[in-house]
Symmetry: C2
Subunit: 156 residues, 2 copies
DNA sequence: ACTGGTTAGGTGACACGTCAACGACTACAC
DNA sequence: GTGTAGTCGTTGACGTGTCACCTAACCAGT
């Protein structure tokens, strides 16, 4: 790529999309995470972990597999599980077949908290995002996200 | 609103949009911020602050006004300015007309760093977002963002 | 001048997430 | 078996951002 040092700047629509994305992200995440916290004292990452675990066989997953599914670094997941473990939402269990490995296991308390939090969380997502948009906009948002995710996943 | 306790769950497209948004956010922000850091040692918030300041009259803005423009909390901005000040990118200056007030002032070093970082940053935004999308998608993304931002700004 | 309410900005404690480095283990060569 | 490479998960240090709380200063009505 012949880099001239001055790439094409963003035009009006492009700038609007980029800045808009940044601002939407800032406000939306704050709002959603505030409601989640007020509801059951969970953060968004907490909720994600609980959701993944609740869908897993025997309510447990290997740390690595979980990290990969969630697109998290192992470090991040390990840190986060430590914090959630201290609150009794999950437990660690060593893996019999691989001495290096560990399972994350959803506790009953974790499951109960997730069940209690879910309706409010979905309602919040609807209220602050989904129900504001047309079907077409929802479809395009999904497309855009998939495009970007696909692009970034493949380039590592 | 008669809350039945079980709000409508997300259908396939809605779920795809929401989860996609979350994943796009995670990957895109990480990528953009990594390139920015590798380039001039700046974080995204650093870049935002520098950009705002460079566009301001006399390269200085009152902390409050800055916070409002950027949709940041004053606390966040204050913390961030402290860190940027320690790196010599900005300075604080007290406001003569309001004893409570303070200006944030862009230093020459800050301006130079911004100039050095800008081309690469724009290129990254293009490469990982804008240039992946059609004009139509860019337009819709801007619409969606504006809709959500408008909704959330008005409800405080 | 006084008082009560508001606004500007700062601070401390804490949760979060990155990176770099580490020890423990596995897997595969030879 | 013995090295050696790679993987699994953890940890420490650090920058970040939130919340709750604080002080100082402004400003209105009295």
């Amino acid at each position: 790529m012949a880099d001239t040092g001055v790439p094409r700047w963003l035009d009006e629509d492009e700038f609007r999309a980029w800045i808009g994305y940044r601002r939407m992200k800032a406000l939306l995440d704050l709002q959603i995470s505030r409601e989640l916290a007020a509801n059951q004292g969970l953060s968004e990452p907490d909720y994600d972990v609980l959701t993944s675990l609740s869908a897993a066989e025997d309510r447990r997953i290997r740390l690595s597999e979980m990290a990969e599914r969630m697109l998290w670094s192992k470090s991040r997941l390990s840190h986060h599980v430590t914090r959630m473990q201290q609150r009794g939402l999950v437990t660690r269990k060593e893996c019999p077949s691989d001495g290096r490995g560990a399972f994350i296991v959803l506790t009953d308390a974790g499951m109960a908290t997730l069940r209690a939090a879910a309706p409010g969380h979905v309602a919040a997502v609807r209220e602050h995002l989904i129900d504001l948009l047309t079907e077409e906009q929802i479809r395009v948002l999904g497309e855009v996200a998939d495009t970007v995710v696909e692009h970034l996943r493949s380039r590592v």
